[in-house]
């Protein structure tokens, strides 16, 4: 671990056993499918077999007649929701109308797997039987399955009412009004951003390279499929049990989609078996709620793995074209990018993530990025760790690697020469605050991995840098002092990456107590103040601020209680290391535990509260180093050694930071080398199982070495920067560069599976000759 500047913490930086650890390893923790509300029945969803089809009619009469079938819903049962954009926490944006149409198809099925009807029945068998009795008449249309093809004239139109948002500043698409002229398009939005003088920047360059890349979609591969139980009780109150990345978001979106007051909904969070961005918003919750409303019983829907692949989106497939210029002494002068990101069947690809991050590790004075969010007949994409950024980094980092070869420069020295620093102007126009770009590059250069030689035929080493901005958000916590001197910490952020413990540790640090003396709990939407999504690598940051502020609130009240006992002025009472001391008589001291035992006699319970929406979010930088060996006969790529270097600001619990780093690298390795959506000619996914969608196993991934860099974020009381997403930005590029050095061939398409690598041996574009 490389630490730049750091106070002497007592709790932060240690590795206590996670508070939920015993429940998790003993199987006691409750996930979505573990909830069995008394009297609940089973919901199942009928999905379109066609990628693009007009729904001519749905006849549910035979299914309704089946004994034990309690409710059936179709798109006609969904309230009309305006396809207007709806702001979520952390700046994410959701179009409620689109989300509603994604939950249940209206007039058209827009991808194979699109829900067209749902059934609630007494048993799973009956529900399956009922689905088979629903008759849907389709007019099958030609699908469009590629973003670039979808932009071409004459392409099939996914959504006839789509209105392109062409403003530079907002995205997400929308519907045109009925009286607006139709302008058939699949482009939901487009934008451009620019700094400096691009033409002049390329004039200054001695070498200019332009390359085009295609990145296929990848699924997040979370272990737990979506599972929801909804109960619409007779008094009109709706209770939802589900695992998600934001139960307040599930509440608000369900209210918006179903047109019911938010105060009538309570969402009870359960443990989450992975999300990575895919569980930020509603999927089946509104459908389960409608079924429950119709039958008056709790309805539980649990998706199969096939449904998860078919219907709950992966990240975007992307076409990325990048042109960059460099001088003979290795200075980047210009960068230009054109990004076409597939959104799936509904607007909202992460093209902005790619646009704003791809050039950001570097000081490039002249840059322009234009982006397009394009509809195709595939499942609506969802976020996946640093959404959009890996595809952008692949293009930029590959071209930089080619520059380094041409200039005979060390790839890390080149990056250090061009590294972004505080004050560097980004393509958004905003100047960088204090960041750890240089420090991560230096740590990578000094790492044992980089200092160790690699030799042997068909072996190569690749490096790549990455940037992710991280997100702010809102967080609420309540810290109740218990009579034994321990603290109950109630919080609103679902815990994906160990954030219960990181919040508890930050509270403990502020109170001067042990992490084990804090008992953290994630509670329902009625039991704590609003808390925005567990996304954007925001939770350790925003919830940490909330925990810190709640501790300050508690300390203020503790000092008042001690002052009362000592008949002193509160200003004369100090609190340090869980001990209260009277300034005028330092022999007068009370420990936190002693005072906790006297709460009743001094005024009753003590609760520290905080609801925050903090500024000061700190961006993250990373560098990855990959060694590979390529089998020239099969094209198979073996990862021999892999190191990930990340600026965590301050690593609250280093084991969790390392876990994020290793997990992100492993996911990146899978995406880079194997994972792929394979469609047939009619737009049906052919590999919707873990058997055929090949995620990496322990045999495919070496031990991932980690180097934590700590450049404290000045905007956080303890210097925290998010680490949950930056970890997946560099792997595609690092592995692509490693393969290029192993084989002499540049890969332009992800995944770089054995077939593509083998094909590259017989293609003409070798590294030395590329231009």
């Amino acid at each position: 671990m490389t630490t730049i500047e750091r106070p002497a913490y007592k709790v932060i930086g240690t590795r206590p056993v996670r508070h939920d650890g015993v429940d998790k390893v003993t199987g006691r923790a409750l996930y979505g499918n573990d909830v069995n509300v008394p009297g609940h029945i089973t919901g199942r969803i009928l999905r379109s077999p066609h990628a693009h089809a007009r729904i001519l009619g749905i006849d549910t009469s035979r299914a309704s007649a089946l004994p034990g079938v309690r409710a059936i819903v179709t798109g006609k049962d969904m309230p009309y929701v305006s396809p207007k954009l709806h702001e979520q926490g952390e700046g994410a944006m959701v179009n409620l109308g689109m989300l509603s149409r994604s939950s249940l198809a209206q007039d058209k099925a827009l991808f194979a797997g699109h829900a067209v009807a749902a059934v609630a029945a007494d048993t799973p068998y009956l529900a399956e039987q009922a689905l088979a009795l629903i008759d849907v008449r389709y007019d099958v249309l030609k699908p469009v399955m590629d973003g670039v093809e979808a932009m071409a004239a004459g392409a099939p139109i996914v959504m006839e009412q789509l209105k392109t948002n062409t403003a530079s500043l907002f995205r997400g698409g929308g519907f045109r009004a009925d009286d607006e002229p139709a302008h058939e398009t699949n482009v939901a939005s487009s934008f451009a951003m620019e700094i400096g003088d691009l033409a002049n920047g390329f004039e200054l360059a001695d070498i200019v390279l332009e390359r085009e890349f295609h990145v296929g979609e990848a699924h997040q591969g979370y272990i737990e499929p979506q599972s929801v139980t909804a109960y619409w009780s007779a008094d009109g109150r709706l209770t939802i049990w589900c695992s998600s990345q934001g139960h307040f978001s599930i509440r608000d979106l369900t209210a918006g989609i179903l047109g019911i007051p938010v105060g009538n909904i309570k969402v009870i969070p359960l443990e989450i078996g992975g999300g990575f961005g895919a569980k930020l918003f509603t999927t089946i919750e509104p459908v389960a709620a409608l079924l429950s409303m119709k039958c008056g019983k709790p309805v539980k829907i649990t998706l199969s793995r096939t449904e998860v692949f078919d219907a709950v989106g992966p990240t975007s497939a992307a076409h990325v074209r990048v042109k960059m210029g460099v001088t003979n002494d290795g200075r980047l002068t210009a960068g230009e990018a054109r990004l076409v990101f597939e959104a799936g069947a509904f607007p909202g690809s992460p093209v902005i993530g790619a646009a704003t991050c791809m050039f950001t590790p570097y000081d490039i004075p002249n840059a322009r990025v234009e982006g397009f969010d394009v509809l195709v007949n595939k499942p609506k994409v969802t976020a996946y760790r640093a959404p959009g950024a890996p595809a952008g980094a692949l293009a930029v980092e590959t071209i930089i690697d080619e520059f380094c070869q041409r200039l005979s420069m060390d790839p890390l020295d080149f990056r250090l020469l061009n590294a972004a620093k505080e004050g560097t102007r980004r393509v958004t126009g905003v100047a960088a605050p204090r960041i750890g770009c240089v420090e991560t590059l230096e740590a990578a250069r000094a790492s044992d991995h980089y200092q160790s030689p690699l030799s042997g035929p068909f072996r190569g080493r690749g490096v790549a840098a990455g940037f992710w901005s991280n997100a702010p958000g809102q967080a609420s916590v309540m810290a109740s002092l218990l009579a034994d001197g321990t603290v109950s910490l109630v919080e609103g952020s679902p815990d994906i990456g160990g954030t219960r413990t990181t919040a508890a540790m930050q509270l403990a640090e502020a109170l001067g107590i042990r992490a084990e003396d804090v008992h953290p709990f994630v509670v329902d939407t009625d039991s704590v103040g609003f808390t925005s999504l567990t996304g954007g690598s925001s939770v350790a940051f925003k919830q940490g601020v909330a925990a810190y502020e709640a501790a300050q609130d508690l300390v203020r009240q503790l000092r008042q209680r001690a002052a009362k006992i000592w008949n002193a002025n509160v200003d004369d009472v100090s609190y340090e290391g869980a001990v209260l001391t009277l300034a005028a008589d330092r022999a007068k001291q009370l420990t936190l535990k002693q005072l906790a035992a006297r709460l009743n006699e001094t005024g009753g319970p003590l609760v520290g509260r905080a609801t925050v929406s903090p500024a000061g979010v700190g961006a993250s930088h990373a560098v990855h180093i990959a060694d590979v060996e390529v089998d020239p006969e099969t094209g198979k790529v073996d990862v021999l050694r892999y190191t990930t270097v990340v600026d965590a600001g301050t690593a609250i619990h280093p084991s969790y930071v390392e876990g994020q780093m290793q997990g992100g690298a492993a996911q990146g390795i899978g995406w880079a080398l194997n994972e792929e959506y394979v469609y047939d000619n009619d737009g049906r996914l052919l590999n919707s199982s873990f058997l055929d969608y090949r995620m990496p196993t322990a045999l495919d991934v070496p031990f991932i070495e980690t180097v934590i860099v700590e450049v404290p974020n000045p905007g956080h009381p303890y210097g925290v920067r998010g680490v949950g997403e930056i970890v997946i930005v560099p792997p595609l590029a690092a592995l692509s560069n490693a393969i290029a050095h192993a084989t002499g061939k540049r890969m332009r398409e992800i995944p770089m599976n054995a077939r593509r690598v083998l094909e590259s041996f017989v293609e003409s574009s070798d590294v030395a000759a590329s231009s």
């Binding site: 954009l85 944006m93 403003a167 530079s168 907002f170 990575f276 958004t428 999504l533 690598s537």
Partner: protein, 78 residues
Amino acid sequence: MLRRLSGGVRVFEAGAGPLADVIAELDRRFPGMSEALLEEGRFRPGVVASIGGETTSSLFDVVPGPAELHFVLAISGG
């Protein structure tokens, strides 16, 4: 789009004050700017301001003088 409204001007100075007032001033100088940024009295979804490097979506936040103000795209995380 904003650059089209500003006649190609990329950088301009405005008086310090609440963000809402600054945008109103920009709109007086470059008509249409307010509509491009705001909808129903709030930032359009997906738009945020960056004041001195800190992003905000609150029109009540104050732009101190001197400070850099940018209007940028909001990024969604995963």
